[in-house]
């Protein structure tokens, strides 16, 4: 018995299962994962809106059907705008890696222009629909359509506001670590919106035309 207690006293160290003291984290080290989890939760908002559209998308209430109101050429141009803005944002990130402030700002400006073109074309499309009487309150199909596509458009608009703010930040403070971190977060957000748009043009527009 005494032998057993002896082994567990001072000389021998107890095994360590965890570090008692939190080690130092570099500033902003957890930002990327945190922002990624935000993006994933945003993805769930869109999942709910897609589910709503999936359930209500066929209820026209004797009003216009997708075939009567959608114009695929406009949607194709819109898709091209968003796709181009994705690749130019990628170029901005590559310029940021090489610490070229001017090139980063230039590519961000091009991205913002494509994004603004996307929002502009979408607003033009919405205005056309409302002019034809295809308003959100016309049928369940149009309510869920405007909610889903409008929420995506609002996201793109807030992404644009964020992009302009960051361009001002980079222009005044330069490509400091904090600005690089913010640009990488916006990159996640921007590419995520492009992924959501794939769902929108496939399930809302293309499948709507097939209905």
């Amino acid at each position: 018995m005494t032998v057993l207690t002896d082994t567990a006293t001072p000389g021998a160290q107890a095994p360590v299962f965890y570090v008692a003291d939190e080690h130092e984290h570099p500033e902003g080290a957890s930002t990327y994962l945190g922002f990624w989890i935000y993006v994933m939760s945003d993805c769930l908002i869109f999942a709910c809106l897609f589910a709503t559209f999936g359930v209500l998308g066929g209820n026209y209430a004797a009003g216009p059907a997708p075939k009567d109101v959608f114009e695929l050429p406009i949607v194709a141009v819109n898709t091209a705008m968003l796709l181009l803005s994705s690749i130019t944002y990628g170029f901005a990130m590559l310029a940021m890696d090489r610490d070229k402030t001017g090139a980063t700002l230039g590519w961000l400006a091009v991205t913002a222009l494509f994004g603004a073109a996307f929002v502009g074309i979408e607003l033009h499309e919405f205005a056309g629909l409302i002019h034809e009487g295809a308003t959100p309150e016309r049928s369940a199909f149009l309510s869920s359509f405007f909610t889903l596509v409008g929420t995506h458009g609002l996201h793109v608009t807030s992404g644009l506001v964020w992009m302009v703010v960051l361009m001002v930040q980079v222009a005044t403070k330069g490509l400091v670590q904090a600005n690089k971190r913010r640009l990488l977060c916006l990159s996640m957000f921007w590419h995520f919106l492009d992924v959501v748009w794939i769902g929108v043009f496939t399930f809302v527009y293309l499948l709507g035309m097939l209905r």
């Binding site: 994962l33 990624w36 589910a51």
Partner: protein, 127 residues
Amino acid sequence: MSLDAHALDESDHGHDDSPPHGTLQSYLIGFGLSVVLTAIPFWLVMSGVIADKTVAAITIMGFAFVQIIVHVIYFLHVDFKSERGWTIMTFIFTVVILFITLSGSLWVMYHLTSNMAPTPAVMRQMP
């Protein structure tokens, strides 16, 4: 002991570096693939090559599925290494919830509609 603690510290320090964000080549590959994967479904619907609507719908959804994966890999840079796997774990979790939300809503609401007592409008169309 000190060695052990050091090893623990090392493994915990994998998050110093920023998340991976591709090269010019990977961005261009991703862009090229997504242009092709967008153009084909638009062409399929606009030209109406596939007469059977069910086949056309399934084909288009297949293209969307592949394109989403292309974007996640080449633009969002989700891989098994970043944030020691937490990025892909949260992504997979989200996809599972997304699948349950979508398929569950569609399934339940479809059955609700088809089990509903017919409305006067439907009755009038009945033989």
